[in-house]
Subunit: 298 residues, 4 copies
Amino acid sequence: MERLLRKCQIRNQLVRECLAECLGVYVLILFGCGSAAQVTTSQDKNGQYLSINLGFALGVTFGVFVSRGVSGAHLNPAVSLSLCALGRHPWMKLPFYVFFQVMGAFLAAATVGLQYYDAIQAYSGGELTVTGPTATAGIFSTYPAAYLSLWGGVVDQVIGTAALLMCVLALGDQRNSPLPDGLQPVLVGAAVLVIGVSMGSNSGYALNPARDLGPRLFTYIAGWGVDVFKAGGGWWWVPIVAPCVGALLGTLIYMLMIEVHHPSLSELHTSCQEATEEKAGVELEGVKPHCVKPSTKM
Amino acid sequence: MERLLRKCQIRNQLVRECLAECLGVYVLILFGCGSAAQVTTSQDKNGQYLSINLGFALGVTFGVFVSRGVSGAHLNPAVSLSLCALGRHPWMKLPFYVFFQVMGAFLAAATVGLQYYDAIQAYSGGELTVTGPTATAGIFSTYPAAYLSLWGGVVDQVIGTAALLMCVLALGDQRNSPLPDGLQPVLVGAAVLVIGVSMGSNSGYALNPARDLGPRLFTYIAGWGVDVFKAGGGWWWVPIVAPCVGALLGTLIYMLMIEVHHPSLSELHTSCQEATEEKAGVELEGVKPHCVKPSTKM
Amino acid sequence: MERLLRKCQIRNQLVRECLAECLGVYVLILFGCGSAAQVTTSQDKNGQYLSINLGFALGVTFGVFVSRGVSGAHLNPAVSLSLCALGRHPWMKLPFYVFFQVMGAFLAAATVGLQYYDAIQAYSGGELTVTGPTATAGIFSTYPAAYLSLWGGVVDQVIGTAALLMCVLALGDQRNSPLPDGLQPVLVGAAVLVIGVSMGSNSGYALNPARDLGPRLFTYIAGWGVDVFKAGGGWWWVPIVAPCVGALLGTLIYMLMIEVHHPSLSELHTSCQEATEEKAGVELEGVKPHCVKPSTKM
Amino acid sequence: MERLLRKCQIRNQLVRECLAECLGVYVLILFGCGSAAQVTTSQDKNGQYLSINLGFALGVTFGVFVSRGVSGAHLNPAVSLSLCALGRHPWMKLPFYVFFQVMGAFLAAATVGLQYYDAIQAYSGGELTVTGPTATAGIFSTYPAAYLSLWGGVVDQVIGTAALLMCVLALGDQRNSPLPDGLQPVLVGAAVLVIGVSMGSNSGYALNPARDLGPRLFTYIAGWGVDVFKAGGGWWWVPIVAPCVGALLGTLIYMLMIEVHHPSLSELHTSCQEATEEKAGVELEGVKPHCVKPSTKM
């Protein structure tokens, strides 16, 4: 079978990247919204808020595993935007990435809708509502808590996405605290977990325009209707715009407080040369020498 | 003692593999069904739904640790089937693997039945039932939720197993996001955790014909009787057939969207040659160069 | 200060190992019984059964980190016994190890008693009881559930400790699924977590004579009195004897089903020679070649 | 943009370290107090005590990731003090580190206050109180349980911080159980998790003068008033003084029971020379030979 499949090989780099982003976001939303569906329709019997946090966190982890080697595993238009702004990703690819991210989220929401069709029917008595005691739209996309003002929601999403980007940039900054390459997906998931645990209460930590818009479009089409855009005082645009602002802000903070101050590699080379010459054997063991380290690490 | 034991050494490769598969599934079910027994008989006092998810997840992790170096740790007929279909495992071995997987699950269910004998007697008042308020058959094998239609159950198991295979194939795909070899068992467990958290509600995420059939046979023999096959409208065949379909589907999706498009190693070689020549020292540090990587990783 | 401390250096190997075992078990019980104290005295408000599982699991992890490089981190008389039986640890050292393991557990129980003195007084109204609604002896050592027969308890502890040893031996078996050396403490903790989640209900998963006897002696002296030995029908000897039997049983099962059948290194060498000669470069990257591997790993 | 930012590069080592400590503690408190805010204002609906433990644990993990390569990631005046006492950090830098640690905590508390402004208003009915049924000061800094005596609180904090330092020193002790460098942040977080799970009940496991004082100053200014210093019988100084004592005590215990007894490297060299000469190839694979190891590791 493997030989047969190989005939379908696509060599175009951008197409491969778009497929990977699509499948990555698909996995993220399949597990994330799936766990929300499980908790909602079982009325907290088969899971609680923490298991939704776990669902999105491990959803991100496996979404990254599925796509990282091909597309870099952005999985989030706000992340793609930040990387473009930093000059680490070509602007030209941005619209393609975003489109396929949203499409992956849409398809995953449809899959969750299919898998939980019976459960949602039983829980909601067949009525697909956005608000009320048996509302089920919150399984798919985010809505603000009753107490939250619109500007409070914007602030919430800006802070949350800024925190995400600070963590993600720190994990990828080889001159700060390098971690074994294969573990980055796990720790990006852990970042999403801690944000869910500490910033999920106000408006459900979308942090990601594709994660929110794709499933919202699905609910719009699949029977929840135009309420999904009207609810929460027209909330829908906040998880699209605010994460982009937050991502840029978080990038700026991390760059200005940490990354730009790293000594450049050439400086490091000069000051390390003597040290490294005498411990060449150590270098072979995979430990990169951090010459300019000031004091004992915690 | 070690010298004494060495006399029992078996050199036949297939026998060793079958023993390993048997012990691997045994560990998986011992912890998995054990946690279900703990939650059920303690009436949620000594654990909740999440701890059953943890039991199966870490059960898989240690099942893989126990058997991986010998048999490759399939632990699941649906996984064995997919690997055969992909040409990565000989079809000839398939029936042996499947038989010993089911046997391991059967023996583990018997062990759980023994360990929780007093607890099950106390909880159920001595009556071993498949349905009703003190039903205990669900400790061992899966039954659908009351609201679930049969076809809904098939769809549920197909989607769940497809998701499992996508994760497992991504973890093993060295040209995507390679992870430190010794951590694969942990992350396969994490995949099972996230599926339990997001897809456990409908019918208990069997995902594995051996995991379901072995314990069901035990309950049939041990006093629950023929109801274990009749309950849920003859549910028993769904977690046998649907996971096989789902595993093949998940394999197909991952192959078609990601793996077949990886540049072949020879292509990589050509385009990387120059790069790798100048950083031969880096290669020694165990970092495989990903030459065709398009953009910054998340 | 470091120079000053260095004057206290002890060079005797056995004394160093005993100190390490003592501190290792101390850390294990400090966190383990501490979490039980927290859940009991806060009446499930500041934690639930799962957090006790986490307390013992991470207690083991950090107990191993604290002592592994010095004494090998047995932290459990039943583990020491099994390693002696396997010929991997000298019998002569066994009594010393066991004594210091029990002492570490005793001292840690005393520390928990001190740290939670006010809380225990407030919770129990000043009466230190072994049974009844405000019993607090269960914070320190294990007692069987009301439904459990004595032989049921023995079976429970034998199965639990056998499962522990199977996991621990698999983690340490370099010819099965080798994992990065530094992660063994984490995964030994994970084994204790999954046992707690799946086998904690009947009698509190002591699995370790030192873990149970040390704190029991503390409660005997500190005011709970002779009831700690009388309760549960004279339960106290079960978590001492049964784990030793279980550990030997688990060792036997793992050895007979997996480890003795590994091809000896010399056999491996012969059959691998050709393969390894041509990929000498790969070997340098830290990947040990598993030549006799039959099929694709999961 | 990256080029533009590079113009802001600061080359002064101490300034860079202070910025890193500030951002590290900021991340720690943002996630830690954020999770407390979420649990408090959602009245345990969107998380429970365990999720606060997770928030502080992963807060520490990402705080360390953000700052470790630059400042060594102390993130805690008590840790800085211990390292100074051990001679591993210059005393001269201590006041700078402490000031920026407190500032980071203050700024993070302000951010949490901003992000949860609407939620706190809704939960407390607009009244910012330190005690009573809708008290919200506990979101930011620690207060003792009603039953806790002042000296009980001091003992609690001393034991907790001593346990923290024992774990942290063991993780960093390359001659004990070395772990992959990049995973230290994760395991320092795990240490904080297990302390939260086992020692959080009495007085909220501050363990860190900056973590407690910074947010307390914020609440003092932001409307909770002078009660934040008066409550708990003038509790505020305990989480400042006791952690310093505890950190020194834990350091002393670990050094005296484990680290000072390690054979010095020169001794190791002599006794290992023969062994290492014949397995030079193994050394290249990154496995440091532990020659003096007495027995099989657990």
